[in-house]
Symmetry: C3
């Protein structure tokens, strides 16, 4: 019977599902948390921008394409070219979220008419920062190389260390965050969080020569400030004690919620440091699993007695 | 000498390797844990199904393609279309693992003759659930937005929060788990575990408005039950104390091995909650790093004294 | 005005950026940590090699392509073919890093003239090991299946367990590490670290039938030695207490820095075991969150009192 063929049943199932699911799309209506969008930053495109920026910062390392010196200009220009248009388009899509209260928290930011001009200004500023970012990344590569005695070459560090991927994306995302781009910096940081297990909010201010060893489980909050030559290990949390809220239940943005690490601090695996007033003084060393909620003076060593294990030998 | 050319040596190496490795394929024979398969669920295809479902739930967010209202029907139908055939084929491949004892644990489930009909029934049931899943996801998006005061818009939450990706895949995988599909739900949950560091077994029952902040290292076991409006942080384990086994060394399936969280519970980073009898009462708050193996009454606050750090100031 | 068109402003921005960033490329000069390379191992290609090796070890599981017995030879030969040339090319690119002091730590290894011949020798040795690696992986699959009573079939284990992906890549990377290939083993291990949250250094020596449950946050250091039938859980660290350095600040390579686990050891979630002299005796069980820096005799049970939680009931 033709009516009960797979094709027929399949068509019926699709029509019924479409009819039922159509009602769940409120067509951008106020209060619908998942509006169907005609122009929203694309995750796939943002990931592509990051991959192309990596080719600019580390020419030839990802693709393996020759980036030798006679044609280096051509190589770099090609990637700059791709990033420019793509970033411009994504920023144009993201900017309205600054003031679109219907899609989120009222932010008291007035709408602007010329989104395209503002996007162009931002992309221009971002591009002018690329050389400085690249210089910073060189210091991060050296920091990883000297910070991990098991590293054999800079190339190995660049090609394999998750810390390099995390800090590369962070320095890009932080620049866009400072330029007031909504959504995209967070898409970038969460993409690299997914790849490395290292979760750095784009707002965090991180000094030169930063290194994270292993990295899985690291969390660094939005208002964290980190000095130069800081080194942290896997599972370290730089977090908030609590969120002071205003009368509308929104966080009071001006308040620093996450700690400050001064220059030359080392924090071993699994340590938790909480609070916007907490300052880890210059040159201090924080031991594994330590839990800190107040400041420590410069050049301190902070430990805690890891609980003595109870060993039951056989026959006891 | 032609005999020693790269091409010749290469051909010899390949022939020798092929001869040697051929013996390691036992051709589906009983007891071979890695049988060469002519039809097994494909990881690449299961990942594609998830990506297409994400376009249905969040139209335009991943691809960045316009999903504007005049053509929304066409947009959604296209993805429904792709998912239907693909899911049907993968379920056809997976179903025999229900009773194929030679590939695994005897499960006492009788073989069925018409795998295709059963697969069609399952895909139909799954499709009829899509609108309800989408409504649940809206509540999860709102929960993430209100649960993290740093969130600026629903779009940012959808586009970047790992919790949204994890719960989206979980709600899909859980539906297929309930419909008795073998292997595929676990492939889905492990795929998103790989992307987010959040490991939720497809069997876990999770209420409305669920939020996980940061997420790396979260483990939620198969028989966990979670109420509405629950919020957990990175590194939380909802695990088993031990596995009661039957006479054949298989787990006694009827037994609940993982904890229950009632409505409105909050669990901070790194806490471990173990045991099938352990119930965290409604509205309770569990502090960071706490280790719990028995129930706590509703509206409790559970802390432990994080060990006081020993600060050695310089010169001491 | 034509001068101020988007196209014109875009061209100017690109030229200015190119001029400024050009100065940051020192063209392979000594001391430049990110030299632009004309031939360096490609991350994309190394990832492709791993995917093709997975098809050889687990035919049909990833791609879902039929790998049925009449044409299994053709299936396997195709993937061997692709891996051979690709691995040869990447090893040719990597080998000079053994002695290229200008890109990294002086390693006292003399340069060789015939890089191609050495690469061919290495690829040949590696290929001859493939059947033995495949036999080891079968035991790992069985170990995962028996180690997790919730596993329903070998196929489910192969298709979804992160432990299988991690140990598969480790056994490949370890082989290349032993053959003296620079950089590539670490690229492989960090790639699978990114996918699974499991960080195993290619140098670690791991016995038969190894299983890691859940896995996120596991760290296993370079000189770790692990016996047969060992099982560990998420968040376990097998690490170093300190790095003894030589006069040049390089680690003294001969020294074992990471622990030894004898046969049949089980280590529960979050435990930390440190030090090259630390030996966990055969058959011992290490409890969750335990911190160990010295040896324990065979068949010990090691626990620590997880701090008793302080429960504040409502109204108290």
């Amino acid at each position: 019977m033709e009516n009960t063929s797979y094709e027929r049943r399949r068509a019926d199932a699709l029509i019924q599902t479409l009819d039922a699911i159509r009602a769940t799309y409120c067509d951008g209506q106020h209060g619908d948390p998942i509006a169907a969008h005609s122009g929203i930053p694309s995750l796939d495109e943002v990931v592509r921008i990051l991959a192309n920026l990596e080719e600019i910062f580390y020419p030839g390392y990802r693709s393996g394409n020759p980036a030798c010196s006679p044609s280096l200009d051509i190589f770099i220009r090609r990637y700059l070219d791709m990033v420019y248009d793509s970033l411009y388009e994504q920023v144009v899509r993201a900017l309205p979220f600054r003031w679109k209260g219907e899609y989120g928290r009222a932010q008291g930011i007035p709408a602007i008419e010329n989104v395209e001009a503002e996007a162009e200004r931002i992309v221009g500023c971002f591009f002018s920062r690329l050389p400085a970012i690249r210089e910073l990344l060189k210091k991060d590569v050296i920091a990883a190389y000297t910070g991990d005695p098991a590293a054999h070459s800079y190339a190995e560090v660049i090609l394999s260390y998750p810390a390099i991927r995390a800090i590369t994306v962070h320095r890009v995302a932080h620049e866009l965050y400072r330029l007031g781009v909504p959504i995209i910096p967070r898409m970038m940081s969460e993409h690299v969080h997914s790849e490395t297990g290292i979760d750095i909010h784009p707002g965090a201010r991180i000094g030169e020569s930063f290194f994270i060893d292993h990295g899985t489980g690291v969390v660094i909050g939005e208002t964290t400030e980190i000095g130069n030559r800081v080194k942290i290990y896997q599972g370290v949390t730089l977090g908030a004690k609590s969120f002071p809220l205003d009368a509308h239940g929104n966080p009071i943005k001006a308040i620093k919620r996450h700690p400050t690490l001064e220059d030359d601090v080392i924090i071993y695996a699994g340590a938790t440091i909480l609070g916007g007033d907490t300052v880890i003084g210059q040159g201090s060393v924080i031991g594994g699993n330590v839990w800190i909620t107040s400041s420590v003076p410069p050049h301190s060593t902070v430990l805690h007695d890891n609980p003595k294990p109870i060993v039951k030998k056989p026959g006891t």
